[in-house]
Assembly symmetry: C2
Homo-oligomer: 189 residues x 2
C-alpha cells in the first residue's frame, strides 16, 4: 500500500486564502448555484440582480477507498449576507447515513447547522479557528460564515460517506441562521 | 442521536499551546516513558541523567462508536533532540489494521515516519502548519519534531481504529530521523 502511494497522496499543503489544492479538482459555488437555499427569496433575487459573487469553494482529497479509509476536504466560505441570512453552503447528508464527519476550523468565524434526519431537531454549533465540530451520522450539515473574513475549514469523513445533496435540497433545512443585533440566531424557516 | 449529544461532544475548542482539552483526559509522555524508542541508547541515558522533560501530550475526543463514527486527537510534541535524533512519539499501528488516519498540522515543523507492516518500506512525510498527512492502514506511524517550536496537530481516525503500541515497540521502527546539516534525514537504525 505505502509503496504505491505518491507523495501527493500522503502530503497535501494548503493555504488559508483559497481552497485550491495542487492536482485536485475544486468546486466553486456562486450565488446563482444557491437558488432555494436562502429563506428570503426577494433578497436573493435582488442580490443576484446586482451580480453573481463566489460564495464558497471546496476541494477533496481521496487517497484510497475501502474499510477504514478516510477522505477529507478543504472548504472556504466567504463572508456576506442575503437579507439577514449569512452566506451558507448548500449542505448535505452523507449517502451512507451512519457516516460521521469531523470539521476542523482553520480561520474565521462561523457555525454549522446540524439537523437530525429522524427528528428534525436542529443544533447550531460554532465553527472557528482552533476548534473542531463533530457531525454525527444521519445528520444534514451546513456551514455559515458569521464573521467578516473567509471561514476556512477541513472536513474529514469515511471514504464511503458520499454526498447526498438532493434530500436536503428538496425539503430544505428547517431552521435558518440570521443576524440579530450583530449575532447569529437560529430561527424557524 | 443529535438530541442526546452534549455541546461538549459537538464542539471542542483547543489552543496551540497545550493539548489539554476541557473535560478530556490527557496523556503526557516524559523522556523516561520513551526508553527504547531512540537509537542512541548512550545519549538517551545521558539526557535522562540530566532530567526528565515532557516530550509530548495527547488528548482524545471520542463522541460515539459504531459504523461510520470518527474519533480525533490533539497532539503537541515539543522540540528537542537526543543525540542526533529529534524528539519523537512512540508511534503505533491501529489495532484494526485497515484503519487510516488523517493528520492536520496546526503549528510548527515536523514529519511523520510511516512504516508499512508487510514490507517494512518507510516514508518520511512532512507535517507542519497548513498541511495534511494521510496515514494508510497497515502502517506504523510516528511523529518527529524537526523545528524549534512545539509541533501541534490533530489526527482523525475511525472510531474502531484502536491503538496498538506493542507491535512497533517490540521490533521498533526500522528507520530513524536524525539531523544532518540542520535538516532531517532518514537513516537505517
Amino acid at each position: 500500500m505505502l509503496l504505491s502511494l505518491k507523495l501527493e497522496d500522503l502530503f497535501v499543503a494548503y493555504s488559508l486564502d483559497s481552497a485550491a489544492l495542487s492536482n485536485r479538482p475544486m468546486v466553486k459555488r456562486y450565488l446563482s448555484d444557491l437558488r432555494g437555499s436562502f429563506a428570503d427569496a426577494a433578497a436573493y433575487e435582488a442580490a443576484l440582480a446586482q451580480g453573481n459573487p463566489l460564495l464558497y469553494e471546496v476541494s477533496a482529497v481521496e487517497p484510497a477507498t475501502g474499510d477504514g479509509q478516510l477522505h477529507y476536504g478543504l472548504g472556504i466560505l466567504y463572508p456576506g449576507n442575503i437579507g439577514d441570512e449569512y452566506y451558507l453552503t448548500k449542505g448535505h447528508y452523507h449517502t451512507h447515513r451512519p457516516a460521521a464527519e469531523i470539521y476542523i476550523g482553520l480561520k474565521g468565524e462561523g457555525a454549522m447547522v446540524l439537523e437530525d434526519e429522524a427528528t428534525g431537531e436542529t443544533r447550531l454549533v460554532p465553527l472557528r479557528a482552533n476548534s473542531a465540530v463533530y457531525v454525527p451520522g444521519h445528520t444534514a450539515h451546513r456551514t455559515v460564515n458569521t464573521g467578516a473574513e473567509p471561514l476556512v475549514y477541513i472536513g474529514v469523513y469515511p471514504s464511503n460517506a458520499g454526498h447526498d445533496y438532493g434530500a436536503i435540497a428538496k425539503k430544505n433545512f428547517r431552521k435558518i441562521v440570521v443576524q440579530r443585533d450583530g449575532h447569529p440566531v437560529l430561527l424557524d424557516r
